[in-house]
Amino acid sequence: MIEQVAIILPIVLPLATMAVLLLVWKSIAAQKVIGVIGSTLLMASAAALICLVNRDGMIVLQVGSWPAPFGITLVADRLSSIMVMLAGLMVFAVSIYSLVMIDDRRVDFGFHPLVQLLLMGVCGAFLTGDLFNLYVWFEVMLIASFVLLTLGGERGQLEGAIKYVTLNLISSAVFLAAIGVIYAATGTLNMADLALKLRSFTDDGTVSVLAMLFLIAFGTKAAVFPLFFWLPASYHTPPAAVSAIFAGLLTKVGVYSLIRAFTLLFVTDLEFTHNLLLLIAGLTMVTGVLGAMAQSEIRRILSFHIVSQIGYMLMGLALYTPLALAGSVFYIIHHIVVKTNLFLIAGIIERRFGTGRLAEIGGLYRSAPVLATLFFLSAMSLAGVPPLSGFFAKLTLIRGGLEAEGYAIVVVALAVSLLTLFSMTKIWAEAFWKPAPEGAATETSQNPYTMFERLSLFGPTLLLVTITVGIGVMAGPVMNASMATAEQLLDPDIYIQAVLPDQYLIESEGDLLIDDSTSEAHGLLPSPRGETH
């Protein structure tokens, strides 16, 4: 019973918070307080979910007690629970940060309810066990992100939004078409059931076609090469709090879906699909980091870095060994924390100078030593300098790559990591190190922040920096968790068995067999592949 509550809470809590927020639409103060309370509660429930998954293994909820292939299924495995926890943590940090950084006009237009809606979509996408539900949660998340992106209606925001909305709608259309085709081929949309049925497709190209459709759909959302160009065009336009939450969560939903699809569903033709993934991973890393080097505005640089780091996450998935996949999981954990934090810091810098263009700012090392330290730690973590979290994430991936003998991708990953360091140094040298240029906004008083602003701006940043340092110091436990996650992902039978316990029996060798007697009892609906044509 408690498991069922724990798995539904990450979806219901944001919904409830949003409902309460809509009730207090008129009061800006109440909106802010309830927004923070809601994300705190979500974080607590996500922590409970992680503990339960850790203790009992996978948690499955058949909504409305309809048995698995017919009803709506919610599944929480290790990866899902980690992702939900990270989502809660990021929204907690951003909602505190937004107390100061989001102006009252945007709060008035419904910033806080939209964040909760976004969170509901993200958590739903992480927890669902059904492809069509995944589509619906994607749309919930997208519509919230569309409005968040355009909230305020500034020129740049609208321009960025046109590109963002168009590309995301195209990828949704492709995703929907892929759902239609996969339903025609297998007659089911439940992921566990699909995983089982897709195993019998070995000879023809059906699985490869489906895999490519899903690769395009999820790849666009994850911003992989060559489908990433909407991301740098839009992520630097909204207020920093919004870009921080986008940078932390949205592309990672795409990566999560890719990991889910290519460890559970499309594993019959590894030679083709995962080699293609490996190629995409390498190109994503290189193009992202080269794009970042050409930029001269903090948030644009950071946006391109999201692209290059998506490549690292794909690299582990493409290599498809336990160690490499553990590296991917570790990298996602590290990346969400660090990237959100860097965008938060970029927001503080932009607030100070009124611009993020590197040529017009400077001198922060002298005037804001705390901010400089926080940025330095995050930037070095992103570049992978020991002993911060990024180092261990990259080390695991590189070790995984060497073990799987993917030497080319290892070389690319190392070179890109060096270039990342280079472009982080660029921000460091321009914004912090060089003296402030003529005409730049200078400090008017000794203490530019009130106590409340200090807490609201630096509190979340400090928390996230502590986490990234903490992951570095306690790399052992995080590594063990990533390893356990990877092993669970690489054994789809665990997933299938948890979702479809009574329909499939396990033979002594561990092979799954379809038990005819029970599946016939469930066979209420005609098969679309059968005699109905």
């Binding site: 619906v136 046109i162 168009t166 085709v181 005699e531 109905t532």
Partner: protein, 115 residues
Amino acid sequence: MEIVLAITVGGLYAAGIYMMLRRSVVKLLIGLGLLSHAANLLIFTAGGIVRGHVPVIPAGETQPLTQVADPLPQALILTAIVISFAVLAFALVLVYRTYQTLGTDDLDQLRATDT
């Protein structure tokens, strides 16, 4: 019947992509609309076209007695139509606001955020 629908789906996709490649933002929107219709029709076709009865199981039975139409694709399309309608409505407002703010509907003029 399936051939006709398949050709229609292909035509819708082609028209949608052609419209999206135009420079006008409004035509881009029309293209997106056509694309979502194409996807819906694709699900409908792929789900299997069957002239059957409504999928209602009589009282006391566990299976439908006659051949029935598969209700799932229709449920999927219904959901997808609602979603794409909402999203398209949002996109329409977005385009209008963009036109008001920027004074152009030419995609080539939207260059400020490009890199």
